[in-house]
């Protein structure tokens, strides 16, 4: 694991070196894809070396061992710092490994700023908690229970409407039933999402446009997020401006910036930009038009920077 890459990426790069680029291009996660492409670029400089380093036994045992030792050393350092805070400097000075010793001293200086807090976090009981929580994947969860509830309730009325399996963060809704689904979200006595907090668009890698709706219920005090994906060639989503009136302006803004067409919107015009502006500015491939009413639009910043 000298190159520090994931097993998955290495496999992809190895197969790409053999001429199979499809598996990389088919990756959905854009970060992983770009990482894989970057690794491939490096590997192509010296394919033989890359193969030699990364083929063979890759059970991952080395990696596991490495993380365990780093955890252990952190505990060790914390132990010494706690001793140092209690006035026992001799044991720190007696550490043979120079690197560890300097790490401990540095940590001690920091810890002395707020000794009580440090003790609270790193006392032997707490260390195990911290370690376990830091190893978890960081994830922002809005409200788990309500999304699951919506998914379960929707099965009877709108089968197959929620497209994502994992509904921790959001609900991915099928665009064709979105209007009826929105009315149901607003009127169902268990949900009562009466307030559309925010509505916005996203451009995902220049292939997919996504509309996101942040919904909140003033009476039930719960919150959810709905996402709808449409292809960039034909971005059409049913409008919900008659369900939540504020969607009128929100959808106009999303249309203005992303060019998502909200069908059945009664007044779909640009809102922030002039009517005759060309292009959809918040798409990732947007290029500013050359002139506007005979005025040349400057593209370089020279002159005012």
């Amino acid at each position: 694991m000298s190159s520090g890459l994931d097993n998955k990426i290495i496999e992809l790069v190895l197969s790409a070196l053999d001429g199979n680029m499809d598996s990389i291009n088919a990756l959905e996660d854009r970060v992983v894809r770009s990482k894989a492409k970057a690794a491939l670029f490096k590997a192509k400089k010296d394919p033989g070396k890359f193969r030699a380093e990364n083929t063979g036994d890759r059970s991952g045992a080395d990696e596991v061992k490495e993380t365990v030792t780093s955890d252990d050393s952190q505990k060790l350092i914390a132990n010494f710092v706690l001793k140092g805070l209690d006035g026992d400097m001799d044991s720190i000075n007696a550490i043979e490994d120079r690197v560890t010793r300097s790490k401990v001293k540095a940590a001690l200086v920091k810890a002395k700023k707020s000794p009580d807090e440090y003790k609270k976090i790193h006392s032997p009981k707490a260390v195990s908690d911290v370690a376990s929580s830091s190893s978890e994947v960081k994830k922002i969860v809005h409200e788990e229970s309500i999304n699951l509830k919506i998914k379960n309730l929707s099965v009877a009325k709108f089968p197959g409407s929620v497209l994502n399996e994992n509904v921790d963060d959001f609900l991915m809704i099928n665009p064709s039933i979105w209007y009826d689904f929105a009315i149901w979200l607003k009127t169902d006595s268990n949900l009562l999402f009466d307030s559309l907090q925010c509505q916005t668009g996203f451009d995902i890698d220049g292939k997919i446009l996504e509309a996101r709706y942040n919904l909140h219920s003033m009476s039930k005090k719960h919150y959810t997020e709905v996402r709808i994906q449409v292809p960039i060639e034909n971005p059409k989503i049913p409008s919900v401006e008659s369900v939540w009136r504020i969607a009128d302006w929100f959808e106009r803004e999303t249309y203005d910036m992303f060019g998502i067409e909200f069908s059945n919107h009664r007044d779909l015009r640009r809102i922030l930009l002039p009517e005759d502006w060309e292009g959809w500015p918040l798409r990732k491939n947007y290029e500013v038009q050359e002139t506007y009413h005979g005025i040349v639009i400057p593209k370089m910043k020279e002159g005012w920077e």
């Binding site: 996203f202 996101r212 504020i246 002039p274 500015p281 918040l282």
Partner: protein, 373 residues
């Protein structure tokens, strides 16, 4: 005799008009003196905030947020840093939290002072405007003392503050609060019970609660319609759950619930509550604590998105931040409270006299910098 219908007339208010609080064009269709519909045209102040954010780092976004709502820059900073800290899972120390709350509440008072003063100005009361600007200056002096700027502060940073409080800030703030608290009664005498003002605002532009919710109207405008909804109380961020304060709602003191007078009076009451919060925060503020303690060296949030709402003087200020793991935002959306408040004007102003449109617009307390972004 029935209603006489005349020919429809189209009238433009703005874009350059003092009563529009910025650069806003209202296309008003009238039948005689009676307004039949209003179409707002916005975007004159569009500065591509969201597009800019996709090319600067997370720290560099903060000065941009200042310039969105230039009358309440502290709370704009506050909302952004709270969202970023939740995304990065940073815990900031107690002193920073207290200073932030003090600043945000002082800013709320300053913003309401200007909003109320300009509202009076819109309907012909000039003197209260001067009184309110006089007191707002004192708050700006406090901000200048803290960070050197009077309007655009860039004061709250992700994980901390740009400066600690200067020597003498706490004393000066107490002095200001002692001076300002009785002054609120002055406004009450000048405007709230003033017969001319009441005639112009009571029962005018009534916004029913369900209309307000459907249009996404929040903040003082929603509370004036009788709904107790305040993010500081209902979804507390920072350390607002430590303080005791009331959430004033409109009760229809001079007319019906949700009229212009209620929207005015709720703001007056809110200033009193803000004073209470500032006093509590100053009293419980820890003496020591480094304001740069939790500043991260590199800001690279985990892949994912967050929608975080905070209570700005104009309502729910939301930031939707999408991160792709790099140090610049993949997409950043600001949900502006004034944007939603302006969208309701066609609904509540239709049917009133032309002169009432300006009263309604003033009572919504919009800031065009934040609407257009």
């Amino acid at each position: 005799m029935g209603i006489i219908r005349g020919e429809e007339m189209v009238l433009n208010i703005g874009p350059q008009h003092p009563a529009t609080h910025g650069v806003l064009r209202l296309q008003v269709r009238t039948d005689g003196e009676i307004v039949s519909s209003i179409t707002p045209y916005i975007g004159y102040l569009h500065r591509c905030f969201e597009k800019h954010c996709e090319s600067v780092t997370y720290e560099q976004v903060i000065p941009f947020t200042d310039r969105c709502d230039y009358l309440a820059s502290m709370t704009m900073n506050f909302g952004y840093v709270v969202a970023m800290e939740e995304m990065l899972e940073i815990k900031v120390n107690d002193r920073v939290q207290h200073i932030r709350v003090v600043m945000a509440e002082l800013q709320r008072i300053a913003s309401h002072l200007l909003g109320l003063g300009a509202f009076g100005l819109d309907i012909g009361a000039f003197t209260p405007f001067l009184h309110m600007l006089r007191d707002r200056e004192r708050i700006l002096d406090l901000f200048e003392m803290t960070c050197g700027a009077r309007l655009l502060y860039n004061y709250m940073w992700i994980g901390g503050l740009s400066h600690d409080l200067p020597v003498g800030f706490v004393e000066s703030t107490y002095k200001f609060l002692d001076y300002f608290e009785p002054k609120i009664d002055e406004f009450v005498n000048l405007l709230v019970h003033n017969k001319i003002f009441v005639e112009r605002t009571a029962d005018i532009g009534v916004m029913p609660q369900d209309v307000a919710i459907s249009y996404g109207v929040t903040g003082p405008n929603l509370r004036a319609s009788g709904l107790k909804w305040d993010l500081r109380r209902d979804d507390p961020y920072s350390i607002y759950n430590k303080f005791e304060f009331e959430v004033p709602v409109g009760e229809g003191g001079k007319g019906s619930v949700g009229d212009c007078w209620d929207r005015f009076y709720v703001r007056v009451l809110e200033m009193k509550e803000s004073i209470k919060i500032v006093r509590q925060a100053l009293a419980s503020m820890p003496k020591d604590g480094d304001v740069h303690q939790s500043l991260p060296k590199k800001i690279k949030p985990p892949i994912g998105s967050i929608y975080k709402r905070t209570e700005s003087p104009r309502g729910d200020l939301g930031y939707y931040i999408e991160s792709d793991g790099s140090n610049i935002p993949y997409r950043l959306k600001m949900r502006s409270p004034a944007f939603t408040a302006l969208s309701v004007i066609d609904e509540i102003a239709a049917g009133w006299l032309l002169s009432d449109v300006l009263a309604i617009l003033g009572s919504l307390d919009i800031v065009l910098g934040e609407i257009d972004r």
